[in-house]
Symmetry: C2
Amino acid sequence: MTGLLADRLCAAGYRLTAARSATIRVLESGDPHLSPAEVLERGRAFHPALSRATVYRTLELLTSLGLLRPLYGGEDGVRFACVADGHHHLICLKCGAAIHFDRCGLDDGMEHDLEQQFGFEVKSHMLELYGLCADCRRALPEEK
Amino acid sequence: MTGLLADRLCAAGYRLTAARSATIRVLESGDPHLSPAEVLERGRAFHPALSRATVYRTLELLTSLGLLRPLYGGEDGVRFACVADGHHHLICLKCGAAIHFDRCGLDDGMEHDLEQQFGFEVKSHMLELYGLCADCRRALPEEK
DNA sequence: GTACGTGCAAAGGTTTTGCATGGCG
DNA sequence: CGCCATGCAAAACCTTTGCACGTAC
């Protein structure tokens, strides 16, 4: 339990309430790709009164702080990923599976170069690679 | 006019119809981050009868071929980006501006390593860096 | 000529909003 | 104690789906 999201939230001047705390606990507990509905369902384990509207508001707030990122998954709508310290996925174009990997091939000097070139202040990043996962590669040749 | 999207579509065995052609022309004409509504509006310049449903169907089709990628933009919902040959953005967390840059710091051996490790076949990729654009950095200190 | 693709319009689900209440700081 | 945040429920929105017709190949 690092409390990274909570820390950043407070540092930005927002209150750490029961609803937000529950939402954050869900986001930091394992599964890195959750839909708003899943966050609501799991969040109610920590704070039964949690409302759908508050989940949406909290997700938007964390996104605006650069801590979360909304992704379009394979088929089931939006999912949010924590990108506080960079996030890297392999995404299967067929089944929508998102595989997380740690290694980031990013050139370390790159962020600095971009800040120089565009005056852009980089806070986090995400790298996605698209293709076919092992299971779908196996399945494809068979189906006709 | 490269016709890259059209070529790939046909190569995959799909028909190149007037509706699809119009949609593709919009996607290949400049602006790399379009919402479905914008695609519809601009597409009707080429094919007035173009329907909203067909735009959605075509966007989904191109996405499943790994040519497009749905992104959640700053505030206005989904936008689609062409990732046929890799795409790299700086995204402003405040105003939602998406700045394209060419340089990709990706380690060239990385794709191959991931194929070895996960059995994943990489077809395209996208790199997003989140932060504040030059304009918003200037504006922030002023507004209280 | 045939199977695929389209347009229309209605259905479905998710996301957003307003307002009175509650609780953090 | 004041203001921020919440919960509820309704409203708004975007997206998807069914079906009969048109058309690419």
